[in-house]
Symmetry: C2
Subunit: 708 residues, 2 copies
Amino acid sequence: MMFPTSASVVIALLMGIVGGAFVIWELRRVLGYDPGNETMQAIAKAIQEGSAAFLSREYRVIAIFVVIVATVISTFLHWQTALCFVVGAIASAGAGYLGMYVAVRANVRTAAAAGRNLHEGLRVAFGSGSIMGMAVVSFSLIGMTVLFLMFNGNPNQLTYITGFGFGASSIALFARVGGGIYTKAADVGADLVGKVEQGIPEDDPRNPAVIADNVGDNVGDVAGMGADLFESYSGSIIAAATLGAALGAKSPAFIGLPFLVAAVGIIASLFGIYMVTGEEPKQSENGNDSILARIARFIGQYVIKIDENASLDDLLKALRHSVWGASVIILGLSLMAVLISGVSFNYWLVILVGLVTGNAIAYVTEYYTSYTDKPTQAIAHATQTGAATTIIQGLAVGMMSTVFPVLIVAAAILLSIWLGHKADGTMAAGLYAVALAGVGMLSTLGVTLATDAYGPVADNAGGIAEMSHLPSEVRHRTDALDSLGNTTAATGKGFAIGSAVLTALALLAAYVTAAKIDNLNILGPTMLPGILIGAMMPYLFSALTMMAVGKAAHEIVVEVRRQFHEIPGLMEGTGQPDYATCVGISTESALREMILPGALAVVVPLVVGHVLGKEALAGMLVGTMSSGFLLAVMMANAGGAWDNAKKWIETGQYGGKGSDSHKAAVVGDTVGDPFKDTSGPSLNILIKLMTIVSLVFANSFGSGWFNF
Amino acid sequence: MMFPTSASVVIALLMGIVGGAFVIWELRRVLGYDPGNETMQAIAKAIQEGSAAFLSREYRVIAIFVVIVATVISTFLHWQTALCFVVGAIASAGAGYLGMYVAVRANVRTAAAAGRNLHEGLRVAFGSGSIMGMAVVSFSLIGMTVLFLMFNGNPNQLTYITGFGFGASSIALFARVGGGIYTKAADVGADLVGKVEQGIPEDDPRNPAVIADNVGDNVGDVAGMGADLFESYSGSIIAAATLGAALGAKSPAFIGLPFLVAAVGIIASLFGIYMVTGEEPKQSENGNDSILARIARFIGQYVIKIDENASLDDLLKALRHSVWGASVIILGLSLMAVLISGVSFNYWLVILVGLVTGNAIAYVTEYYTSYTDKPTQAIAHATQTGAATTIIQGLAVGMMSTVFPVLIVAAAILLSIWLGHKADGTMAAGLYAVALAGVGMLSTLGVTLATDAYGPVADNAGGIAEMSHLPSEVRHRTDALDSLGNTTAATGKGFAIGSAVLTALALLAAYVTAAKIDNLNILGPTMLPGILIGAMMPYLFSALTMMAVGKAAHEIVVEVRRQFHEIPGLMEGTGQPDYATCVGISTESALREMILPGALAVVVPLVVGHVLGKEALAGMLVGTMSSGFLLAVMMANAGGAWDNAKKWIETGQYGGKGSDSHKAAVVGDTVGDPFKDTSGPSLNILIKLMTIVSLVFANSFGSGWFNF
């Protein structure tokens, strides 16, 4: 007997609800921590207000976009797709808002907890990250499964649900681009005047842009990253289900499998999360935790040991073990899922390929961006001959760092297609396998996103500790947590781009099926122009976002200079800086500058699809995917490596802080800022959004204006 | 009656001989100029010896490569292909050597002529460039036509001749990469110690690396650029002839047409060249010039007016008019060629598309890199907030500058395919048209390369004027010529990459035919891995070349510092610097560092073709073409814009020389050096070489190790 699709979907819905319950439970736990003294709370309040103000204004802009697009969809396609689009947008925005809501409250609690000991600090910050992680996966899964069940029996069921992915992508794009511009404009602006011109340290409360800088960490790295992966997660499941539907007799099992894998991923992620946050007598005594939590905590006790003298490596190991623990559980449970689905064992191997791929890319990213390894040290070495050689070496490292991720992803695609092809004898099964590998890779998202979203919380905690003059050992502890966050952020970016490529490829395959393209010859008349235009899009997009950061940072610089000039006693600490104006400028400029790149990503596929035809559009998507992948990896890794080269010099290498080498490293770090936090990560979403727009409108494209 | 192929080929051969005669005649004319005073001659001699030493050592390394590859070819393919390979390599190397031979003699003569007036200086420098330009086109045309006639009647005739393109590509790669590393290592090394540490001006004779720097201009920008375009020129003709052979009944006419277009291009180029170098009583009186020369000179008198106060714009106009004049002639004569060939009028439109494309790309490049336009001025503006914003803005400008070249090339491909398709009703005719557009674009090469290869001669002349303490008005004149050279170099790079894409696409189409690939589905099992690996190659290649420049420059820095430290009286001008050691270091490191990237470009296509199969190889070529095109344009234009932003500041903007803005601009310029002169232009050849390797070995690839 074949396992029915709806049973898989219901299981996924139930697991989504379990994840949602964890979110509420963990939210109460994190907010129950001591929020620190009054100074700390006042600073945290400013960050909370700035973040909330930005996000609500950003969401208002996005709401206009959502209404316009929903109208277009319901006019030209179906109201059902429009409904799914709106639900996808709301679910993604909701997860992002919640993640940010807790992050700007966990930061001050992390600072306070770090006043007690390192593990307490990690537990609060990681708990906050886990709320984001679980909110993303459970909101996505609940949204999709409810819509799926609502349209059950309708033959266009899956077509409608692509709208959910489109809604999620739209939010993701604006959140990543808007948040990315905000965070780096504030960061670069604050540094250029504060550190360089006035010679005051990072996070100094006298700097008028310091609150904007801290707000930026939350709106960019928490809400932006969350929306990005919400989209990959939803997209990979939608693509797999859509491709599964085309596989003939066994398709009910194929459609259900990605939902089942996602469902077991939630259990596994919860396990991974407990491994880090566990071992807490207070919670286990009040009796409201599960057997799973007790087991995870029990294992965690032996695997994860974080004492006061924990090195960066120890902390990293702790987080890595939690991800690995989750992966092992997924492998076990998804084997069961494959068996009860009645599909070939090969598909379990495909899930394994996905999991290994994610971890392998993360490993390579770590190698290229960690200052304990050669590439970053080579950049530090190049600082001796000045800023120019620092930049050249950093760009070269970034370019070199693309080699292995490309080979890994290429191998994953080839292996998945091969396994799927072997199992069911068709190329369609092969492409389904690629989508399933993407689902497998993202099945641990609940815990991997937790390790990622925890970083900005630790970063903020350090800022709050600095601004409220806490004892230096507190700052040391938050610095340790922050360094860890930098590494997990870099690996998280590698993970995000890797999953974006697999998801986009699967969505592309779904598009080709939906658009009824039968001849996709690479030498077809419009194909090569399409590929070239597609390859150009990431460059145009990056140029726009980098220039936006430059422009916005310039406005901040002018304002900060004005305040230092006009507010009496600011440098002496007797005058009060006007934080709100800087927050306002960052908000205004980020919202203004995100419109054009965002609109381009939606409009260009539609134009190309109509003018050059549906084949050229497929070519364009391939061009954007390949060129965007490369550029994104290059930018993310160069940015991460420059950042850490500077950090390495700050440990005393090549003259340490204040030396000429350090000055050159600061130039590298500043160039890397928009690379790794604005332009680079936005490309993931560009790739996916362009593909999903094409998929949603697939039926509307013809053979174009050129008549061959 | 159809015009026979062999008649077209014979006409091309004759025109090639005419071009060759011009080379000899012009060589005598340029060398007949006054070589200046003894100091000047001594400096020129050092440059001559350094250049000759590098080139002969480089050619020795390449010779080993050529012998190995020729053995492989004759073992696995045919001895005929191996012969063509060797002839192609020798012809390209010969043109490169000749171009450099005259450049290192024209430099000192240009300096002396600039002592008289500006137009005289232009005439010598441009004359030297025109020798290079005509040597490239005529050596290529003579080589190919002789081989064609030699194998006449043999059904594999055209297959063999692809070997000529392979030979030319191999030389091009090593010349571009080796020369590029040499020139930038010497340049960066000389500047870092000379300008930055010791505070002595550019081209100061006390700098031990100054001769190496001047040698670099010749081996990189003359020999390297020449070999690059030799390859594009040969490749476009070979591709067009090969694709023409597949067009059925009319194929003799189709095969002959590209040769005819190339033949008329020589006449047109000669005309364009005379427009600049003409109006010279001495030469017209000795009676040994043609009617063509008299007409060109007559027109040139009215069109080109260069007086002492000529601005950069006037000089630019002079060169532009000569290219435009040549283009008009080509259009007229190629209409006749199309008519006598008996093919559709559409193919004349295709040639027009090619010519317009080349000029349009050149125009866009000029806009993005000239300091009279906004993009470069925006970089200069960004220098006010330091080196980091200078770099961010420059990279953004470089990325933005890819948009129009991509749209232009995409439109050219689409239009060409459409015109060819309309004319003969098949996609094969469309792809032939793309190749023919490439031939059209490159038909003016004799004169466009002259405007390009003249730059380094003017640059060297300035250096010689500086080192031999000529009066300041001489230096002003050579500076005017040099500025002009910077702009033509940037436009030349745009032209080189545009033609590389068209040529590579045509070669790819020839490969697909030769490898008998019938299913090139973009979603085929191995296609996407192929595309991703292909897209990665330019990043790997650029990373290697940029790191090579960094490493070699570092060695120069160490040596120059040693000399300043150990040679007594060097700074005071009483001690004699040891130029030869710096020349030796540059030579050694360039030759050492060019091996790996060069070998990769040849080996990777063979590995992918055998392991992943011939379809994956086609995908890889598409990936490399699209990704390489974007990266090359970005790097070339960012580099050119940084260079000119610095020059603009040196005219007095933002505080002028020595200001903080200028320091930031110097960082940008230094980063731009390997961008625009090493990594960026090398990518053209990477694209073409990988494609031609695939074409030559097309028959040897199967379906790969993965059995689907």
